[in-house]
């Protein structure tokens, strides 16, 4: 295909789109922080205290897990691109595995203390998925309405 057939990209529009999409991770974390209290309140109202406590614990574990995942990926990308302030490879792998250990410990503690809240805990672990789905809907809205 010749170069003349390719559509022209407006640099200002491309910069606006890049700025918009670069804020996706921050928006996802904000959405998680907003969604968690709302969903915990809904779980408390619908299912009672113990499932709500389990759900809140699941949300907290999922939030910390997502934050650490972001840090691990940042360290990995730093190393892959040869950035000056890259973390050590052992530290990256240790943190990546430590996430699973801490999640398992949290789940074991909740299961030991209150088995009734286990379903809430499992549901709370899906908080990032809900936040990513909300972000996807928002990006679709921005693409359709605002043309970003």
């Amino acid at each position: 295909m010749p170069d003349s057939a390719q559509p022209e990209v407006d640099p200002a529009q491309a910069a606006a789109a890049e700025h918009f999409y670069s804020g996706a991770l921050h928006r996802i974390r904000s959405l998680m922080a907003v969604l968690a209290p709302i969903l915990v309140a809904a779980a408390w109202w619908k299912f009672g205290l113990r499932p709500a406590v389990g759900f809140a614990s699941g949300c907290a574990i999922a939030y910390v897990n997502f934050h650490w995942l972001k840090r691990v990926i940042t360290g990995f990308v730093d190393r892959a691109t040869g950035a000056a302030a890259s973390q050590s490879g052992q530290g990256i792998i240790f943190r990546f595995l430590l996430r699973y250990v801490l999640m398992a410990v949290g789940a074991y503690v909740i299961l030991t203390v209150s088995p009734a809240s286990l379903n809430g805990l499992l549901a709370g672990l899906f908080l990032p998925v809900a936040a990513i789905a909300c972000e996807a809907v928002y990006e679709l809205y921005a693409a359709v309405v605002r043309g970003v």
Binding site: Y21, S22, I73, F76, V77, N119, V129
Partner: protein
């Protein structure tokens, strides 16, 4: 072609194994649900690990080819890994729901 023949071989072995499951009867005392749940979690974990490895390898290769594309690749990698992990969690939830 070799992969296909291996796949069909595994499927045929599994087909032969189906009548064997029926021979135990209800009095066998074996908790097949728990065994199936264990295999399900193992399959889900293994396939999710493979998917995470492939996603990470592709991201590393893309970063090595074009380091300027770092923000987009990093975002896609984080979201991809989070969603792949959630797939293993789906299996875990189903197992907890079915195995009491």
């Amino acid at each position: 072609m070799g992969k296909l023949s291996k796949l069909f071989m595994v499927l045929s072995v599994l087909s032969f194994a189906v009548p064997a499951f029926a021979q135990g009867g209800a009095e066998s005392g074996v908790n097949w649900v728990a065994i199936a749940a264990g295999f399900s979690m193992a399959f889900a974990s293994g396939i999710c690990a493979l998917a995470q490895g492939k996603a990470t390898a592709s991201a590393a290769e893309s970063l090595a080819r074009n380091p300027a594309a770092r923000p987009g690749i990093q975002l896609a990698l984080i979201l991809g890994l989070a969603l792949i992990e959630s797939l293993a969690l789906y299996t875990l939830v189903i197992i907890f729901a079915k195995v009491k």
